[in-house]
């Protein structure tokens, strides 16, 4: 059955999209999960979704409008998350629902069959084009290069941002750079994963990997691995059971995060004290 799947060109492209989207989304997921800015991430990804629908409505390039919307959202919610004395959940939550409201408004105003719009809602990984794959590959490459180039700054800001700022790292620039990367990743993956499902692909693999390791490098690696595996696993399940691929991917990633949270070796260590080795690797 496995070779049979790959006989079809659309399945080959779908697996390639799963590889690139799964990796990119789960890598930016590490940034969101480690900094505990899930609400900010939700808001930016749904802003990208609303922006794409706006692009379709006014007949502009939907990728460009998605990116612009996600940047504007980052510019608005970033400072809210910045203010340590102020819990951003409420205002970011309001913005998130406003973005979803805008998305529904734009789709409601669209004339005709709205097929493209619905594709952006649920995602259509089985219909990705070479152009979609190229964009995904470019974004994935940029993401990997930037993470490698700025790893030490990213680590400092992810794990203790105020400390990073105090030692002279331009922590604000690094933080907003990460939000822009999130917006770009969402934009590139909208077509394949869909606006409603993309956030689970950002959060779930990273949340699952967070339960496995204390090492940030390994966290990025496991998150990317889980992201790709749930995409491929979901595609395979959807092919075998003839169910929607997006739903299969999301549910599989949810199962993974639930299983690893239940059996987290880190949580056992946190409750019973450090059980690892204190000697240098």
């Amino acid at each position: 059955m496995i070779p049979e799947i790959f006989q079809y060109e659309f399945m080959q492209k779908a697996f390639a999209a799963g590889l690139l989207s799964g990796m990119s989304c789960s890598l930016v997921g590490v940034l969101v999960v480690t900094m505990r800015i899930s609400t900010v991430g939700i808001c930016i990804s749904h802003a990208g979704f609303a922006g794409a629908l706006f692009g379709l409505l006014v007949d502009l390039n939907y990728l460009a409008t998605a990116f612009v919307f996600s940047l504007v959202a980052a510019g608005v919610v970033g400072p809210l998350a910045d203010r340590a004395e102020f819990a951003p959940e409420t205002s970011v939550g309001i913005l998130f629902s406003a973005m979803l409201g805008l998305a529904f408004l734009f789709i409601g105003l669209m004339p005709g069959s709205r097929t493209s719009a619905l594709d952006l809602f649920w995602g259509s990984i089985l219909t990705v084009t070479r152009g979609d794959l190229l964009l995904l590959a470019i974004i994935a490459a940029i993401l990997l290069i930037l993470l490698l180039m700025f790893f030490k700054e990213v680590q400092a800001v992810l794990c203790h941002r105020s400390v990073a700022l105090a030692v002279g790292i331009p922590a604000g620039a690094v933080f907003y750079g990460m939000l822009i990367l999130l917006g770009a990743t969402v934009t590139a993956s909208l077509k394949s994963v869909g606006g409603l499902l993309i956030y689970s692909l950002i959060i779930n693999p990273a949340a699952a990997a967070y339960q496995v390791t204390y090492c940030l490098r390994k966290l990025f690696f496991f998150s990317a691995l889980f992201g790709v595996l749930v995409c491929w696993g979901g595609l395979f399940i959807s092919y075998v059971l003839d169910i929607p691929s997006g739903a299969a991917i999301v549910l599989l990633s949810t199962l993974l995060v639930a299983a690893l949270t239940l059996y987290s070796p880190k949580k056992r260590g946190a409750m019973t004290g450090w059980t690892g080795t204190d000697q240098r690797d």
Binding site: R36, L158, H160, Y210, Y214, K266, G269, D278, R280, D281
Partner: protein
Amino acid sequence: MQTRDQFEREEYGGMAVFLNSVTAAYGRHVAMENVTLSVHRGDFLGIIGPNGAGKTTLLTVVNGLATVISGSAQILGERLSRRNVNGLRKKIGYVPQIQEIDPLLPINVRDSVLVGCYGRLGFFRRVPKVFLEKTETILELVGLSRLGNRPLGHLSGGEKQRVAIARSLLQEPEILLLDEPCASLDWRAQKEILLLIQNIHNRLRLTTLMVTHDLNSLPEVCTRMAFMKEGRLIWEGVLAQALSESRLSELYDTGITIASHEGKPVLLY
């Protein structure tokens, strides 16, 4: 003709910190008002006062984390501005109050200490071997050499403070800012941290500003004191003059008695 910057550099070059009528705020809340203060290089200044006195704000004015809304700050001979704040921060070690850390946070003690040199290194540079070796030396100095691989979130309060001190030492700072380094620590940990601070200040000839609300938790090396209350600097001078029952009672709005134990003043309240 001298520019204002040149004049200030010459006038205040010998000072590590000179605040001139500085008012600082968080949003709309003015946390520190009209503070004028000078700290010479090599001084150890203890800053005391009740909760909400603006002590932490004073420290964050020095490393440019607070928003100065009026007045000027001269740090290490340079007028603090948005342009040079990142550069100055690289020369200022900051040990904030103990913060809750996620036990699952993906960083260990060694990597957290290494963050101290990232600002000085700048972008695109790998950590050179000399800093890796120095990190091991500093971990030894602060008594954490066995815990280098331990996740940061698994440390006790005292150990977290040692990590913060180690990180600021790796920075090779000229000024060290300590914000309640002994708060919420048990007595033994307090004593050990105070000895460590004293040792570091003397060995590295730092300028140190230490905030506390407990005068008993100031190390012997402390030479000068600043009293803060309701956002204002109400008194500043040498330690011997600071030890006045009436002055301290007024500062804390409660009766304070100064006793002596083995030649050391102890505050009773």
